[in-house]
Symmetry: C2
Subunit: 222 residues, 2 copies
């Protein structure tokens, strides 16, 4: 049930259909144990800084930085009509922004970072949660957990979205490169997840193909 009254959020608690985006740096936790702590923080902050700029551009609400992970809400605190589209466009632009991040990594003589993103649309409870001394706008519900599970299937550079996110955005404006059935923990039946590489319409964004990223050899090795 959606509460119609604006004062409801003050009382604390609303049930809302949001589009949830989670991202993390694939393999970075293991890497973080092999490099200096200063480098770990320098890299994380480079990455989070660029991603925060992109997320702000698409009016996503950053709910949380957790290590190298980010939890972003579209549709809270303010509902807009195009939450799922903005989330997917944001994800593509985040992947595109990794080019700039990795140019800096190269300048620092560090290996490139790879990010995976999961997106799902579902009903959750939102509200101000916490103690007297510490309150935050938070989100509760199994759909948040499911978004993390979807993200866990990604490889570096990938964006995986649920059927619900696909339906909410409208399949006709998305460029899907893959689909697969998965059975995440805590979910009764197998679900289909889709690899998105582009969005048409006003956002008009597409990820370059892998061969565009890796320089082709100028001629065959004899």
């Amino acid at each position: 049930m959606l509460l119609e009254h604006p004062e409801a959020s003050k009382l604390g608690g609303e049930r809302r259909t949001l589009t949830i985006l989670t991202s993390d740096l694939r393999g970075f936790t293991a890497t973080s144990e092999r490099i200096s702590p200063e480098e770990v923080i320098k890299i994380i902050n480079l990455y989070l800084g660029h991603m925060a700029d992109v997320i702000t551009k698409y009016q996503g609400t950053i709910d949380e930085f957790m290590g190298d992970g980010i939890l972003v809400l579209f549709g809270a605190p303010t509902v807009k009509g195009d939450d799922a589209r903005r989330a997917i466009a944001c994800a593509i632009d985040m992947q595109l922004a990794m080019k700039t991040v990795n140019e800096q990594m190269k300048a620092w003589e560090l290996p490139p970072l790879e990010m995976g993103i999961g997106i799902h649309t579902g009903e959750v409870v939102v509200g101000n949660i916490g103690s007297e001394k510490r309150t935050k706008y938070g989100v509760i519900g199994s759909q948040v957990n499911l978004t993390y599970r979807i993200e866990s299937y990604t490889t570096g550079g990938q964006i995986l979205i649920s059927q619900q996110a696909l339906d909410a955005a409208g399949q006709e404006i998305l460029i899907i490169e893959s689909e697969k059935e998965v059975r995440p923990k805590g979910v009764k039946e197998a679900i289909t997840i889709y690899g998105v590489i582009g969005i048409a319409g006003e956002f008009n964004l597409i990820l370059p193909k892998e061969e565009d990223i890796f320089c082709p050899l100028p001629e065959k090795i004899p």
Copy 2:
């Protein structure tokens, strides 16, 4: 390597051995989908409020509220000699405080809450992470993930600790009621985790046995 210089944290990034505590309400995410959103937030805030008071008493640093989950650090930003002991004492006192929480739940005519706690001691990177607009004191490393995995083995009312946390606290002052081998995801070999119900010494805390919680029948049912 531990950085000796206090200014290192300003530069951003230190490798530290911390004791990490994570807790969550077992089964609450599923419950949250059956009750009103106002009740979800009311319950979460009742629970977080009481837990925050206990955590503050044991000088733990609340790193994060994530839905009904809490991530607490002992040993950061300030290292103390008894981090693991304080973490374990804090966990026992958190479980004891659930009695007060559940008295309120009963007054609200709601079913009791059950919390699980995981504790682990290990080396992580700590520092101020985030973007220009939003920075927090954060923690990065596989030992954080391992703590969540340890917590995932708990049932309601339980405190499970790793071998490293047991060794750091000193087995001689702990009351252990169970041990088992588990093989968490992302860990090469099976690890032993211990169910703790009490701590001796200056903290001197013990969890009541289950039969003390459930009222015995005054006489046999004929």
